[in-house]
Amino acid sequence: MSRNREQFRPEGHPNDHFLLTTVVGSYPKPKWVDRARDLYEDDEADFDDAAWQEAKDDAARLITGEHERAGLDVVVDGEMRRNEMVEYFAHRIDGYEFNGPVKVWGHNTFDKPSVVSDVEYDETWLVDEYEFTASVTDRPVKVPITGPYTLANWSFNEAYDDTESLSHDLADLVNTEVEKLVEAGARYVQIDEPALATTPDDHAIVGDCLERIADGIPEDVRIGLHVCYGDYSRIYPEILEFPVDEFDLELANGDYDQLDVFTEPEFTADLALGVVDAHDADVESVEQIKTNIRKGLEVVPPEQLTVSPDCGVKLLPREVAYEKMANLVRAAREVEQELDAGEIEVDRSAATADD
């Protein structure tokens, strides 16, 4: 069990057991945020920088509050200020340029950036976002950051010999950003590496990057790694060597068909288990989610279990996203009570810090 988990247990938590509830990061944007963006990008509209900033602040406040109301122990602002997980960062890193949209599938495109020279740190990426979110809530705030391997692999690389050397340089920039976030008070950072699913053989590169990111970061800062939609048998158990406290994994979507991968060898880190599907608009019942949480207890003891959705929920209708969060929290609290009462048998005891 990681030693920095207990700080996220809310004061007055009703149960002895504590299953940390949180989200992966993104959340559906209110329609008026998209309208505000359109106005901001329309030269003829009377909508300046200040108005756009205010719209983003309003959205971040609103969604942070929505996470609080759902009862989540650790909240995010739903990434209201970010347009896309690679573009957002590439705009803030020297060395990137944009040449236009490229197809992902069908008519879904993104502005895939090109790395045209050595990447360098310029302005901060997320400190303002963190400080604002922390100022509008009393709950701990998690900061999701797109990982260096994904930033490298989902860009055109014109400047570096290979993805590995570009990833390493980007990892150093992520390390700088995490240091600044920690200075600003952040205690929970999540590195998102969805690209690892496309090229699982590169897990060693991701591991090296995480060593760079974690370098010099105090132990009380919780570092998570989010990976989704891949064949986990190709990265486990190697990922246990990564210097992270928690692995956040998508598993509900595949109905836990990959759960066995993580039982042998023993899962020594904390597990943030996806318990609701991020791409299915049917809201899972509390009972269903409780069943899913118990799946997690087959892999780790309660002291190592975090409960979250499979992935960012930004593509769901907003009311569906909210209901999923609310049910997720209810289910976690009920499972805690059942654990307190000894009604759930736990196979595994907590891994010690020496494991």
Binding site: G100, P101, K103, V104, W105, H107, S114
Partner: protein
Amino acid sequence: MTERIATTPGVYPLPDWAKGDLADLKGHQKHDLVDGDEGEETTAVYEEARAEVLDRQQNAGLDRVVEGQLRWDDMLAHPLAVHDSVETRGIVRYYDNNNFYREPVVTGDLAFDGDVATELDAASELVDDADELQAVVPGPYSLADLATDEYYGDDDAFLDAIAEFLAGEVEAFPEVETLFVLEPSLVENPPADGEDERASEAIDTVASAAVAETDVVVHTYWGALDEKVHAHLLDADFDALGYDFVANHEDNLYNINEYGTKESIAAGVVDGQNTLVEDAGQIAERADWLEENTPAADFESIYLTTNTELFYLPYSTFEQKLAALGEATEIAEVKA
């Protein structure tokens, strides 16, 4: 003297204006994609975009021009995705890319369709000289690899059916100078022992469907073929084999020198998946390098091309790559 021919494997990016217009007209979800029965407005956008990319190729001085395959929402799986006997299901990953296509599931007899021939008919109206038009089809091995069979029952029968289907489509093509048959799966998911021979026979079936005057190029990419697959492939009857010198020049060179190749080759010397634009001089140098390093070969033609399809690139970069390719063969002609 080896002739250098500037061309591309097709499957282009849509011009940015068409990306926007089509997203508005068709939508963003999987049931919104092309089904072979588009409405008038959508068809008009594709016609305008087709004319634009043909114009770009002609202006760039390419020696072969393609229709552009702008309607191929599902990339190489397109000819099946629009077929009546095929259901398109979930979104699945397109090789090792951050791109996705609808999984085509064959649920009935793959009878003649004619979708690709219709596109080529439209393109042939727009080229001045029929000599320069190049058709593009997925190879049978790759198309079978991208699809799922729920009708033919076993892998061999399915591959044969796909080959016969593609052959029927090719027979309906208007007059074209060249036919590019794209076979990335031969590299990415190579056929096992025994299977390699059948893959070669399937390619032979498709290549033989083209009229004798058409040069057939079987193009492979994302690496080099296994030696045995390469050897078997040379047994099929076609005119040029394509190699990806961007992803793996060493093994491709080895295959050519060790096993020989066809009379002509296609050389993927321009990166279809990177915005770094090679200039014409570099492209010509790569062709020189290739000729110098294949001492035993005396190629009739070298098709200079991007290694992969081009839809991965932003439109502006795509235009620059076409221009460089077109210019590269002019350099060679001046030097000669």
